[in-house]
Structure formats: C-alpha cells, structure tokens
Symmetry: D3
Subunit: 262 residues, 6 copies
C-alpha cells in the first residue's frame, strides 16, 4: 500500500472503481475476496458481522494484495472510526448522516489536527504507509457519509457543503424505506431513482466523490454512467448464499423456495 | 423462529414467561442453556461478558431451539442496538434509561421508519424470520427500558408515556443502590420493595409489559403474582459457580468461605 | 435432528442426496449455507480451514436446520474422529484410507463397543439425539473412507470387505494425481473415469454406500446415475470466490486472469 | 504455583483431593470455577470441548488461584501431551490406555530424558515453576492412564508395573459399556463395582496413585474410602445445565422432560 | 489483588510507579509482560489492538501476578468504561478529555451512586476484590483523563477542578500535534516541554495524580523528577518490534531501513 | 510469494538466511515481525503457542511481506504437516526425528505423488503460488528434520541418506539434555559443540541444507561460518519479555530477579 490512496488517483483520472463488500467476519474469506481484483473492499461493521477484532485480521488479509481497504462503521462513533483508521483503512463509510453537523463531526474524526480531532497512533497503518503517514493522511483518507434518510435528503445541500467531508455513499435499501418503498438494491421505483439521481448530481456539483451499493454489475454500470465514482456489487455472503441456492435448485430440478438473506 | 414473537403471544394470553440469563460468552454454554426449556434467553452485554462477536455465536446456539433470543446492550448506543436486532434478537434490554427522551431514542432505534430510525439490513434474522420480516419487526421486536435509578423513578410516568417503548425491566441491584440500600436481587428492604411495586403497577396501568431480575424462583413467582410479564432467574454463570461451591463445601464438610461472584 | 440418520433413510429409498462442502471456518458462513436446502453439509478439516473449535460453532449453525452434519477429518486419528462424533457429526469422511487395516481402524473409531472402540461421552450430540443415542449410534453414524490412491485401488476389494465400514468417498483430485493425471474434479480423462466407475460399481456390489466430490451439478448427476448415493458440489469458498471473480470480470469487461483457488 | 506439585503433598500425607472438571472451553467459566476451592481442575480435551488454544486461556485462568491444573488429552498423542505440559499442566490424563506398551509410551512423553522423551521448551510453565523446572518436572508431573476397556482390565497388572507411570484414572462410563452395562457414573451394577474395586486395590498395591470420575460427592466419598487418592465430581457444564433444568422445573411446577447432556 | 489499590498506596508514600503498555491483544503476551515486575499494566483499547473480549483474557493474565490492571478506553463511552471496571480494572484512562463537563461525565462513569452513575454488576472483579468491593470501589478505582489537545490546555484548570476526577495522563504525541510539533514521545521541543511542565505542575497543585507516556526510562525519570506519579515506558509491541529490528540489523551488518511502527 | 522458494535461491548462491521465530499466537504480533526484514519466519506449533487456527492468520500476516513462511509442527503427524503446507508454508520443521524411517515418513508427507503421499488441496497457498503450484511444490517445499536426541545422533548418517529429506535443524536445548548438559541455546559445553559441529559437517557432506536455533546474532554468525544455511535468533516472545525486563530493571535501578521464560 503506497502512502497515496489509489482510489483518488483513479477517480481523478475519471475511472470509476469497483468495491467489494465484506459481511463474513473471517480473514480466510476476505483473503480470497482480496485476490479477485476489486479496486477496494469494504468491511461492513453495521449490517455485516465484523467487529474490531475480526476486522483487524480482515485488514491484514486485504494487505496481502493491492486492494484498498475501507470499513463501514456501525454508527457515528469517534472510538471505532479512529480505531479503523489506525488499523489501516483508507476510507470510512458512516451510516445515517442526517445533518451538516453530523457530517462535520464524522469528517473531523477522520482528520488530524488542525483540520479535525483524530487522535495520533497509527499502530497498524504504520506498517505500510510510511513514517510520514500523518502528513499525508488528511489528504488521502476518505470520509464517506451515507445519505439514506428523508432528513438527509432535506439537508443534502448543507451536508455537501461541509468542507471537511470527502465523499458520500447512497444506501438504496434505507433510502427506499425512507421514501415509502420496498427496501432493496437496484431500485426501479421512480421515486427512489429520482432521489438517487438528485444525490449523485448534487454531489458532483458540490465537488464530492460519490458511491452507491448495487446488486448487479448492470445497475452499477448505470450508476457509473450517471456519475458515480465508486460502486459496490454484492457481498462475499450473498455470493456464497446465492451460489449455494443455485446448486441446490439445479440438483433438485426446481427453483429454491428459500429466501436468500440480505 | 416464526415471524411472530412468542413472548407477546404468551403475555397477551396472560402467561408470564421465564427468562434465562447468559453471562458466559461462549456458544457451547448457551446451546446447553437453550435446551433446558426457558421461554427466552438474554445475552448480557452489560454486566455479562459477551460482545458482538461472541453474541453472534450465542444467537445461533439459541436458534437450535424455540427459545426467544434477547440481549441487554451495554448502554444506549444505536450501533450495538441495531446490530443485535439484525443478528436475530427479538428483544433489547437497555440499561439506565432515566428520561422520556432517552426512552424514545432507545425505542426508535428498535423501529424501522416511519416509527423509528432503525437502519435496514436484517442479515442474520433474515434466515428465519422470512422475507416480510421488515413488515412485522416494528410490531414484534421488544424495546425494554431498564428502570434502575432515582432519576428514572422521578421520570417514571413520562417514560411510561413514550408511545414507541414496548416494555420496562427492573434492575433490583442498581435500584437498591440508588435508594441507599445494599445492591442485591430478591430485595426485602421495604424501600426497594415499594419502588418495585410502584414500577410494576404503573407499567401495567400504562399498558407496558414489565419484567424483573431475580435470584430465585420463589421471588420470581412473587413478581409474576404482582403482575410481572417476564422474570429472569439466575444465570449460566451463577448456576455453575454456586453448584461448584456446593460440591466443594459438601466434600470438605463445611460451608465454603468463598464469595460467589455476582 | 432425530436419532435416525436421514441420509440412510434417503439412500435406502433410492434417493441420492446432495452434500455441501464447508471450507470457511466460521459459523456465520455455515449458518447461511445450512439454510439453502442441502441434505448434508461436510466440514472439511483436511483441505478446508476448520479446526475443532471452529467446527464446534459450525455444527451448532447446522443444527439450526434439518441438514445432516458431517466432517472430513485431517487424517486417520482417533482423537479427532471421536471428538467430531461427540460434537454431533452423523458421518465422518477419512482421507487416504489405503488398506483394509486402516479402514477397520477408522471404522472402529466410529463405533462403540463391542463393534468398535469409540469412547463414551456424547457431550454435544446429546442435546438432540436423545438419551438412547449410544444405543442407536453404531447403526446411524456413517464411517466413510476415502479411496484416492493407487494403493487404495490395489486394495479396493479388501477395503470394501471390512464389515465395520459403512461407506466410501471418491476424491477425484488425489485419485487423478495418483493415476498420473492433472488433479481436478469432474474428470474426463478415461483413466480416471474408469477408476471412478470401478470404485462405484465395486462399492455397490459389496453393499457399501458411495459418494464423490464434484465441481458441477451436471457431473454430480452423472455420478448419481452411475450409482453414487451422495454427491458433493462446490464449496462455500469456491462459490464465493468464483462469484466474485465473475463480478469483477463483468465490470472490467474482460475475463479475469486471476486463478481461482481450489 | 510452586515447583512442587501440591497434589503429591496431599496424597503422601493421606489426604484425598477433589478435582473439578472443565467442559466449557472459555476462560471466563474456568476462572470462576478456579475460585471455588477445588484442589485441582482438569481441562477435558477428549469429551469436553477445549482445544489447545482455549485450554491455554483456561490454564491462565486457573493460575489466578492455587488450584493445580491438569488436562485430559484426546488420545495418546505426544504432540498434544507435551504441549499441555509446556502450557503449565501438572498432570495429564490419557484415555484408553490398554496395554503396558501404551502406558509406557504415554508416561515417557511426560518425562524428560533420560527417563522419557519429552522435548524441552517450558514456554508457559516457565512463568511460575522457576528456572529449575526441568530438574523437578520428572518428579512432580503426573502421568495418569485411564483404565476403561476390557483389554485394559486384562492387562491391568502389566500396566501397573510400568515404572514410568505415576497414576491411573477410572472412567466409569466407558468401563460400564466395556462390561456390557449402561454407560454412567456412580455405578451400582455389581459387575462394574467389582471392576472398580479391583482397579483401585491393584493400583494401591502396586504403588500407583488412583482417581475416578463421579457424579456426586456421596459416591466420591465411597471412592476415597475405598482408597482413591483423587476424585472428580460433576463438571462446569453439568452444574450449569442441571441448575438451569431445576429452575425451569420449579417455575413450571413439574419435572423437566429434557435430557441433561453428559 | 487486594480491595485496596496498590498504586494509591505507592503514590501516597511518594513512590512513583512504572506502568507497562499492552498493544498486542493476546493473553499469552500479556501474561509474560505481567511477570516482569511492572507496578501496573494498561491495556490500550484506543491505539492498541484490544477489544473487550481480548481484554478480558488479558485481565485474567494480569491477575496471575500482583500487577495492577488498567485500561485505556477508545473514547468517552459509558458502556466500555463500566464494562472494563466490572472486568477488573483498577484504573481507566480516557483519551481526549477537553472540557470540565467531559471530565465530570467520565469520572462519574467510574463511580457508583451517589457520587456517579456506574451501574452495579462487578462480575469478574468480584473474584478477587471481595464482597465489599462496591463499598471500596469509589475510593480505589482511578479515573484518569488524558490531556492532549489545545482545548484541554485551555480548560486545564477547570478540568483539574472536577472533584470526581482522580488523575490525569499526558499523551505527548497528540499534545505535540496540537501544538504544531512532530508527534512523538520524549519530546525536547520547548513548546511541548513547557506544556508538559505546566500540566504536571498544575495537576500537583490541584491535588490530582498525574502520569505520562514515555519511550525511554531516562525520559520517564525526568518526568518522575518533575512530579509524575506514574510513568509508562514502551509497549509489548514496540519492545518486540524494536528487538527484532535490532537483530536483523546486527545480522545484516547495517542499520535497518524499516520504519518501526508506533 | 513467487512459486520459487527464495530460501533455496539464497542458499544455492551461498548466502545464509536469517529466520525469526514466532511464539505469540496472534497475527498482530506476526505482522509487525514480518515487516522487520527476516528472510523467513517460523511459526512454532511445538513449544510456541500457535495452533492451526492462529497459524492461519499468522500466515496471512506474513504474506503481507516477502518473508518466507515456515512452521514447526508439534510432532510427526501427517494431518498437521499437510494442513500447514496447504495453508502456505514453504518449509516444515519436524521435531524429534530419530530414525531414517521417521525421516522418510516425514519427508514424504511434504511431497505429492509419486515422490510422497501428500494429499492434494492447496487451499490457501493457491492464492499466491499459481495454478502450477502442484508441479513446483515437490521441488520448492522444504522438509526439515530436527536432530536433537541421542538416537538421532546414532542414526545421523542414515537419516541424512534419506533422499526425500531436504534439510535438518539442530535443536540445541534438547540436544544438550540428551547429552547430559544444561538445556540452553548458544552452548559452549564442548560435548554439545562437538555434536553440533558433527551434525553440520555431516549434513553438508551429504548434501542437505542445515539450520540451527540461537539466542544471539554472535552465536548465529559462528554457525553460518561453520556452514549453517539458515539460523534462527530469538523469538517474538523472548524479545518482548527481555525488553520488558530490561526496562523494569533500569527503572528500579537494579537487575531484575525475574526468570525470563524460554
């Protein structure tokens, strides 16, 4: 891992990046995922099943490759945000950012003084980011606020105006629920689609990087065409589960009646 | 596990339920506990020794039976509350709820929009609660606020008036301390007994379910006679420890002088 | 889990069963696999990454469903064979059984006296198999010897004549190597295909149940048509990894050049 | 922990010692057990659920008290025997010792050269046993062979004549099965009782220390009266499980119909 | 561990104590550290890599000796503060305390009613601190606020005036950053040195105990000469890493060009 | 990691390599060690504290660098030897090889057919060693037999004549004990020194690579001068422990009286 964040290089050159999603809290699964060629992998500590300890091993597993490591934290909490940065994440996705104040508080937790209030102690990231890490980190580390509630939509411009914030991430399932629709990815409901388009367009207009969660590459491609800088597709967990369901269905000679978990 | 919460069925039919308490953070102990016939088991993440990762295995262990899974979270923290719900809990006990605002914030973290602000991603609960889980969850999932401080007693009516809150839970040890008494279960001190009676009676009058922690079945029975809908008795840890102390005492031929931990 | 082994019921009624393969040593992945409808799941402790401790949680995860639990042990070792049976496996696959003596030693480790020398202490299996487990276990528990070396082929009839042995399992990769071919599943090399056919036919003739590992349902179907009683297809690990490789390839617009691990 | 084994001191002075049994593979349960006043605690790695890693934490937990640590290994295997000694055990119980050769091989694995072939590297035991540990270990460390099969009964005198062996342990459940009786502790079947009496008497006559597993203090007392030097009663797991079953029964007002696992 | 905190005894008698720092989240490393004669050991849950679960085993490891156990929590969060106290810590270091309100909120989380709002349930500390623990805890348990930001310097007197607070701890790396200097221990920059001197002097004047983190014994001695009551030197992690770097350099015959992580 | 073993490249070019030793069973410690520039790191599963599961994470940690991963297994056991190879080790050290038969059995477990009987399933090593791993492995993977008993000395020539064996490793502590001397590294006792010289000289004469364990770089240099191809110095555990003892001594102003564990 160089001191520079390869995602920023890609985005600045106009290349959208592909992000993988990690739900299974074990480095064995992560290491195999990391070898498949994703630009970045995000450890999901909110709806995924990793905690700090399992994430630590997963970050090491990602570091066996050139894939960029990120994490989604459970909630706006300085403790876990700063720990995940020390542990080697080059991006933090924070759920349910609803106001400019929350966005600022989140972004500042990802920044050393004077821009923010991140505490110094780059214990694991120090292995690979060099002794000048603290001088580069404020530039290279991504704070990524999730926009997924009605309140966030109402405050969208104010949130995007927070100077310390680097990027936003669209959570289509919660956004759908917030807008009275069925919670799902790859939404076709016009209400949700319109909201997504508004968020992406506004973010680009305000100079923020923007990403979104998807179920399929096809939908992800629509999103990069719309302007998304990074797109997530599937997860280790859903790939495994859907693959298993497909084998069982094929063997039984009929469609599975199992519901595939999120 | 059906989509419907069996505890609610029992309580609505007037049957008080028996809750077991899980302090040992290992699924092996939990699975054995789950096979003993408790109506519900609560993973204690406050004074017990489980964290999210160990709780995850314990929830799987409980799911080998029909026992309902609940958790006591360490503190009012949306991150862990929502994670435990995604992981399969049908009830969350939150300690030290002292005001109506805290009660509402807690209860809303257990509810999807529009009633609350729970984020969508039922990763493990999706295994057994069906694809319509999100439609039933607001009805079936129990938010249970602990009443255990002087401030909470002062605000009791306001807390009980919080519409989103489903239930309360009495912590006799902290309540005793708060009232200047020795912290213990199965209190006979009239000051504490009066407080317990007031809480139970007020809860029933306000239409909230109510539970309490006990050391013995005898005291638990007094509490169900008083109106408690669910009662906890002992814990995996205290059962093991007291059982061991009894064997050592019997073998040595005299009472143990060991103090049995909480 | 009933005291009776559902696999035996299926096989006796002429139905071939579908076995899933568990490489990822974490109960979270296992529980999702267990909900997909496999007849059985096998924890691979040889080339997979589980040890006794992780297997323990995986067995609990399987027990949340009606899927039958089995394990492949690392080597012919009474210690781990008996522990996995106590932990709840209804079948043990043992690699590299090359002689009748090894087959007998293995099979006897799966049987209580007087048929074998399994030690008594059904610590976890006791949760669900009933107090008469020890009376049924010799009948219901499957000892499954892998035939995968030239020496085993040479001794095939003698191995199949071992009365205590219940079943055999074909390891196509090692068998291929042993016969001078490329190690892989779903072999089309006539030398290996002939060996597989000989093993299946001999096993059926000698009254032993027989299974085989496969990469695809199509090949597995050829094997059940040939007489295989149970067939494994893929693994949690390969499903996840191949699924990820497919997404990356689709997004990049060209085939992945990553090698997908075993 | 002194360099001297307190169990030997007790036995030499004619005091029988009380041994606790550890099935739950977690240091939290172990530490609580260790504070209850047992003379020794044995980590069961055969029918209990500990492996080397969990045992390591359990040994540390025992070392917070003066209780002597022992382990029952899964099978006669030099690897795990020597590791458990390095980790701090002052006694190893080995199951299913059936011949003098097996007894000698086991005992020698517990002894440094020239008496045995234990490899040198007292990594954890070095914390408390002093730099002269290797000079005392052959004297202080207990090798304890289980006598629990018909073959072992046939070879009893030869086994007891193995000079390197320090002690034997009676496994009543397997011994019962071996003699055609129901596998259980606290046997009253005259066939098993006679065998137990013969083993204890022979051991004492041959100068070997002897212990036995029991379900109750009453039976254990019968065994010490018979000459047993150490007796095990119950386990962390059975204490917890039976305690839970008792609470549920009392609350329900009728006997539990649950089978309590081993 | 006695009910009395040995650190307080030392400080009251004018003896400065030596604190070790635990970054490696494994009880094996901790137990070896605990046997080296430190007065106290602090589990670092902020920039170190322990979470609650690993800390639990580390606390048990410390309890095999007379060393006093403390923890630095990730952030001002009642949940983890109270859990670490229940688990057996006799001191809690809380990072980034910037105002008197934060100091009071932190200190009160370490105190039972009526002085604070710590919840009762001394689950592990009950093993060794006696049944009267809750009566002594408010006196013996140390709340230690870190002073390491410009805001904290501005509010220093107000923070030191918080009656419930027991002690402060200087984080030289963050303090350096806050003052525009290179983040490091053993600072010689006059701006930082002046700040450290002001903090120590003010703390002593206000009757608070004071400690500081150091890289070398030499600097630590300067700090105790200045009035520091306790000093930390190095960490398990840096000792291991620097030791390894020294061996590699010596073997290679030239200085290592590796950067040694924090 | 390339398909070629860098250690062999070094040795063939006449460069002796430096091996680090891993006792602490946690990937956090391992990753820091791996960044210090060792040619290889050996996970000690005999006298160190790693088992398969912890070793798996440690191997991933080593794979974040170019350091070569090896393991010392607990005993001559095909199960664990083959698992560690699948997990990514490029060398296996096996303790207590005393005869040519044992040496051959060990070496063959490290070789695919036809040279050996290693089972095929390169689950983790497949991440980095390429799809042709199985074609290179017999050439690149090191089987390293420990010579450390009197019997091994007696059989030295026969052991060195085993064609399948690649290398030997000298265990000075056990060798010292076997020869009636104090067990330690960096021996100066002429009896042990003579034995070491004989082993090194014989190994070189028979065309086997040879390594030895040392406490200091000075002694390791003597060994490479003698002809050793690889030398181990210290361990993560001893570096940490000795470093801590040095700090405590310096602070206290007198030598520590603590014994530093092995």
């Amino acid at each position: 891992m160089p001191a520079k964040n390869p995602l920023l290089d890609a985005w600045r050159s106009g290349r959208s990046t592909l992000n993988g999603w990690l739900v299974i809290p074990h480095h064995v699964a992560t290491e195999a995922m990391a070898h498949q060629g994703w630009d970045s992998l995000t450890i999901d500590m909110q709806h995924g099943m990793s905690d700090y300890s399992s994430a630590l091993g997963m970050l090491t597993a990602i570091s066996t490759t050139k894939t960029v490591a990120m994490a989604r934290v459970p909630w706006l909490d300085e403790g876990i945000i700063m720990r995940m940065l020390d542990a080697g994440c080059y991006g933090i996705i924070c759920p349910m950012i609803n106001t400019a104040d929350e966005a600022r508080r989140f972004a500042r937790a990802c920044l050393y003084v004077p821009e923010g209030n991140r505490s110094f102690g780059p214990i694991r990231v120090g292995h690979y980011a060099g002794s000048d890490y603290y001088q580069n980190a404020n530039e290279e580390v991504l704070s990524i606020a999730m926009i997924e509630s009605r309140e966030a939509l109402d405050n969208l411009d104010a949130i995007l105006d927070v100077e310390e914030l680097k990027a936003i991430y669209i959570g289509p399932a919660d956004l759908s629920l917030a807008l009275g629709c069925v919670p799902k990815f790859d939404q076709e409901d016009p209400v949700v689609v319109a909201a997504i388009e508004r968020i992406v367009t506004s973010a680009k207009a305000k100079g923020k990087w923007v990403g979104i969660h998807n179920a399929t590459v096809a939908y992800a491609r629509r999103m990069t065409d719309l302007g998304a800088d990074f797109v997530s597709v599937g997860s280790d967990f859903s790939l495994m589960t859907r693959g298993a369901a497909a084998i069982v269905s094929e063997f039984r000679g009929h469609e599975s009646d199992r519901s595939v978990p999120y």
